[in-house]
Assembly symmetry: C2
Homo-oligomer: 564 residues x 2
Amino acid sequence: MTAQLSVQKLAETRRATLDEALDAIRTRAYWSPHPEHPKAYGETGPADGLAAFEALRGGRFELGQPGTDGWTGAETSPYGPALGIEYPHADVEVLLPAMRAGMRAWREAGPETRALVCLEILARISARTHEFAHAVMHTSGQAFVMALQAGGANAQDRGLEAVAYAYAEQTRTPAAASWSKPQGKRDPLEMRKTFTAVPRGIALLVGCNTFPTWNGYPGLFASLATGNPVLVKPHPRAVLPLAMTVRVAREVLAEAGFDANLVALAVDRPGEGLAKVLALRPEVRIIDYTGSTAFGDWLEEHARQAQVYTEKAGVNTVVVDSTDDYRGMLGNLAFSLSLYSGQMCTTPQNLLIPRDGIETDAGHKTYDEVVADIAGAVDKLLGDDARASALLGALVNPDVKARLEAAAELGEVALASREVVHPEFPDAVVRTPLIVKADGSHKDGQSADEVPYLAECFGPVSFAVAVDSTDDAVELLRRTVREKGAMTVGAYTTSADVEAAVEEVCLEESAQLSLNLTGGVYVNQTAAFSDFHGSGGNPAANAALCDAAFVANRFRTVEVRRPV
Amino acid sequence: MTAQLSVQKLAETRRATLDEALDAIRTRAYWSPHPEHPKAYGETGPADGLAAFEALRGGRFELGQPGTDGWTGAETSPYGPALGIEYPHADVEVLLPAMRAGMRAWREAGPETRALVCLEILARISARTHEFAHAVMHTSGQAFVMALQAGGANAQDRGLEAVAYAYAEQTRTPAAASWSKPQGKRDPLEMRKTFTAVPRGIALLVGCNTFPTWNGYPGLFASLATGNPVLVKPHPRAVLPLAMTVRVAREVLAEAGFDANLVALAVDRPGEGLAKVLALRPEVRIIDYTGSTAFGDWLEEHARQAQVYTEKAGVNTVVVDSTDDYRGMLGNLAFSLSLYSGQMCTTPQNLLIPRDGIETDAGHKTYDEVVADIAGAVDKLLGDDARASALLGALVNPDVKARLEAAAELGEVALASREVVHPEFPDAVVRTPLIVKADGSHKDGQSADEVPYLAECFGPVSFAVAVDSTDDAVELLRRTVREKGAMTVGAYTTSADVEAAVEEVCLEESAQLSLNLTGGVYVNQTAAFSDFHGSGGNPAANAALCDAAFVANRFRTVEVRRPV
């Protein structure tokens, strides 16, 4: 094998990064090798990235995959223009066996080489972050800078984190061991044992519309690093960023002497329902999915031959009890509600505010004042259309727009959503957040289905829920997490008792909690290597990004023992 | 809290053992703190153990559990006598909430204290190994020495191993971290984060008849050490060893200042089907099960609210290609087939032998010679009734006896099963292994259901399967593991090519392989801390004892972050 990329060369260039990542997941201190600043990618980086993206438009995205039986694709940017890109459509009867062909060599390469190859893939993606940013922007509707950060650098971080976990997990058991059991006066029993991490089979990644890379990379890289081929089935509206990822992965695999078909793309024809077909194939042994609860539940119930990792809907809550930085709280919440038009699985939906108001450093504030002040902070943040556009991005699809419009009927509107004209893309559907007032009085007699704010209303919609007391807020938080799940919980309080009560609910119901955020960290943002994304312990997701449980069952350890 | 057992005292007495266990799972060298020799338990240990066991017979087994609404139990020893012990029957509507009451304190104790308490439980069980051995013997039918080793020392090893994995997994993420993200010329973003391992909820252990402790302890201790209360639902024929375990656990928990109800017992009334009821309770979030494929599949399909760990049926294969120690091979196989009357999930069932015979150090041996020599080795091993009884133990229940009798009709009998008279317990049903000849010619056209040896025939039944070639044996091995699962695979060969081919099948189909065992290590025995029991990657089991995946999803990590 005369691979262009030798293991030695990969070790020289990438092993130090792997070690840093391994150290970061142990200490959980801040670390990232992927710059968030657009200017960090070289003088020509921005122009090159844009040009590369533009060059892809209106063409066929060749991957050289076996079993290509046609072309498909109809992405339209949430900013207006159709992308006009066609992707190979796969005959899965040909593609799936072809993906298995390279498994043995990939398994035999071992955990370190697999990790280094994955890091090389990520490094090449990182070098093209501007190009990926345009691809993410024009499929998800994220604003450009967010697409570059969340869809670029931070997604790469999450992928690298998964590689580090996969490597750590596979190397916890030694590759070989000698075993000598004393037998009293007789000779000891002596065995030589080998332990090999073996893949489960083909891993299916079912991508989402809003965060194709950020939500896709953890599963993709966790599966690949543990020896499994990965079939990427993107959301039909967000194919390009994952198609580009697949292309880079195939290039690196081939250069390193492995079968490029270890990573492949499968794009739906309109109405084909390919995810359901693939999910039930016996070759598919791992599935990663981000999206609706309905399909996530379907996967968990029906794809019994596979390990299924799902991130589904949830209802994120912020308990507003008191604060010693009222202005900071308002600004922080306004930003969280506005970022990417609330189209994050981590965006707060329900703000639980005592009916009698709250104590703050700016004096007592009534419920109405708090709601009006949050609304005012959002208005101020988004007062300028250009600035607003750079924060809001575009609504990702017509469903979100329809949901936003319908939500205005759900109660008294505290802050109306307004149309924003995007300075560059006049066809973009850009909307400011809607805040609806809601009654949070004891709802024990009502099923969650009867309470509008207890359903996920994905998009720029939040509810200012008037509760009878902070105690009631804490109980409503508990019910919400237990019945509906939550990716995030926030709370503002100056009371040690309230803080302890909220913390206890989060510990008991398994939800990730951010307390008293008033500065530049937002409840809807988590940082790889330090923050867990979701807990895997409430209905919003059955896995956390990223922990040992996310990788430990993607491979098995086969022992061979021989007498010495 | 004035606990009799302080954390400090536990640390002094048990921390060193935990550290040794942590080291053992890393190196996978031989290690055990639990002696296998009956004389290792003090001069009066044997007599005390027997007396303690006898004192339990014919009485009520008090546990002081809440919600006891009656008494139940009808165990009869496979050696003849009825045990006459009654156990509390639980009103689960009372017991389950009571089990949750102590969760918070148990969670707050943290991973180290939980591990130390678990080690104290195991140490007290270890001190009473003789008593447990009688309990295991008279419920499982294991011979006394095996009950003492497998049901005592080795089961305690597996429990300790699970505690070590649980501790390691929970402490991989630090309890707290500082996070500081540079912001160019601005002040860095600074956060203080805490990470807490939180339990999932009540863990249900559904015990089995043959290895109540060995198969029960890994799940029990993995769940308890990760903070979950454990409800033990023993097999109705093998209650006592687990009831004794529950009693010790409750004593230690109470002495250490925790709620004794963190571990409780639930025993069926006849025909009650309690396992199905408990498995679907919303409070039950983890299930460990060993037993039939039918019920294991039912649990996996229906207990969707829980993490389900199952060990089900499998068909274990030994490929007999060639050997340079024919006598050693015969003796090793004879022992493996005889031990506990083949009632181990790891006992070989199918011996694949080329129709044209094999090469050995004793010359070429035809298929018929190999089969006759294996039969002869079994006969020789079991020629004396007293020695045979000490190896065979008793048939665990009438189902095994019926299956054995029916199996003699499945083909030409190479070795008939004979009745053995137990020297001490004349009512014991003791039988030597049956070996049936079978045709292993290409069966591609036949479904596995049509081939008798492709179904698990649990008990002292094995098939000497004549295959057309070693290549065919390897393919039959692959098919067997893939379609039916296997806890163990064995092979005898002097050919590097055959060895590589068998190894490759085991790597691809995820099965644990023992090669050329001719001495005192047997394919059906695995040692904790070094050998994996099952792979979790084929249909015989969805989990391996013990690895990170077995513990990592029994808890979740909740993060709380605050600005500095």
